[in-house]
Symmetry: D2
Subunit: 164 residues, 4 copies
């Protein structure tokens, strides 16, 4: 098997050669619903994208970089690639923490990695998503839109909270 | 970005050094439901695992290697790893073909790759899953269970239909 | 308990006092997915609205009264009320038929009743939905839009196929 | 249309003719996810059963009457009947309160009514569910199981918190 192990993203340098700023992090909490568990009494693997999105949504709200913020600025950021490694199963009623990290990239992309842990910190799942910037008419942006450039400038300047 | 491009799995040799048999293939068809489409009028990325599973389910029924067949034999095969590359969006009412290929491996795993195409053959999505063999008590099998060994012998002998 | 038993809708008379035309019927078929079954090995009750919608979608396509037909005419028809009576459980791999009947009403509504049966005809579920006509801006239509009036005229004239 | 309006359940008397105790109430909070919203930018009607279940789950935990409590006692309580009245649409990012009330009944049933309101108290949805008691082998209980009888005795005696 070709395994794509964490870390899912290579560290990039800034265009001027300096090291990129550390990832930005945000955490969401969620409890497994009865409906999410399958006949084996474990959460069906196809429900996890919703868990990853919960962390990404929390990230967007915390950093002013949400679906609505981007939509108002004229952009949408659909998922282009997703990968999930299932480490330990989750069960009905179990509460987990979903931690997402936005990794710096010079490309017009959003590179998120994820870790899901239980309340004792035990690793349950890792994963990643890559998102592209599109206009509202679903035209691909070859370069970071201004809204993202501004965000990255503040990130680079260390003006954003929660850096790892 | 570290991209894990298709082909997702390396070709393996049999333990005796001969080349492994060609993949086994099966296809399912499905039409996008209204509920599967999001506010952008495209299918939400988190619905695709269900589409991949449709092809896997069709495969299991066609080859006598279904959830029920394996369960009766004492095993379950949860997904350990999944990756999806979204190539072109899908819309409400669009019918697609989901093609899955089971790739030979000497390990105690099921390695499936997937291609989703529209009815004209245009590529919409690629992906892969890796499944492990567990006993019904969710204990990991380090070796292929007898049921899978028998299946692989018939595969190797060219006795299974639908090889690519 | 106050039970709302089938028949869910009272027979109406036409405005001129003649009896209303018989219901229009359409059937869809669907097989229960692994992901739809819960820890009790039966389909989770919250998945049934999707099954009812499958029959409604088939109806819309058969009669030229689909989401897209109505949207092009300027209207959407969200569900205002839904009720489901669970008669017998459904299991993974089971194929069922979902039969929907559109019942005549003089009001600006779509009144559907549903029966889900297995392939031997055994009753599994009954249900109903009531839909309203809204403009695309989600403004309520107090009267049937022209598109629906035309449809009802053809229904009344017996020009539509599949009447019960 | 035959409308089944709230109140969904008739008040019952106790077997000895005294009035039944007031309903028991519990509330859950939830925010609409991106994936739950459809092409009309409103929550798809088929997602609401999950919202009702959130309140029922919170109820079970608060009162010691959860899925796990009942399962340990030997019983499961599948939904036999469900009805939902959609009053006002919900949108992505909107937070709501789901209030459930357990209504007294002498029958071997659980009769829940629901109200979903926004954070200002505006009514969004009402609904009800009826659940039956089954053994773990899915055999119907004609009478309340002991676990439920004990619960009802404490309810009748006013020993439970949160009565309306």
């Amino acid at each position: 098997m070709i395994t794509r192990n964490a870390p899912y993203f290579k560290d990039e340098l800034l265009p001027d050669g300096r090291p990129a700023p550390a990832p930005l992090r945000c955490t969401a909490e969620r409890t497994v619903r009865f409906e999410e568990v399958d006949a084996l009494n474990i959460m069906w693997h196809g429900r996890y994208p919703s868990y990853l999105e919960d962390a990404r949504t929390a990230f967007g709200e915390f950093y002013g970089f949400s679906y609505h913020d981007l939509y108002k600025a004229g952009y949408v950021v659909p998922v282009k690639q997703m990968g999930i490694d299932y480490v330990a199963p989750m069960r009905f009623g179990q509460t987990c923490r979903i931690i997402c990290n936005l990794h710096w990239t010079n490309a017009a992309r959003l590179n998120f990695s994820y870790t899901i842990v239980d309340l004792s910190g035990k690793l349950l799942t890792t994963g990643y998503t890559v998102q592209l910037f599109l206009t509202r008419d679903l035209e691909l942006c070859m370069f970071k839109p201004d809204y993202a450039v501004d965000f990255c400038l503040r990130w680079e300047a260390g003006e954003l909270p929660g850096q790892v």
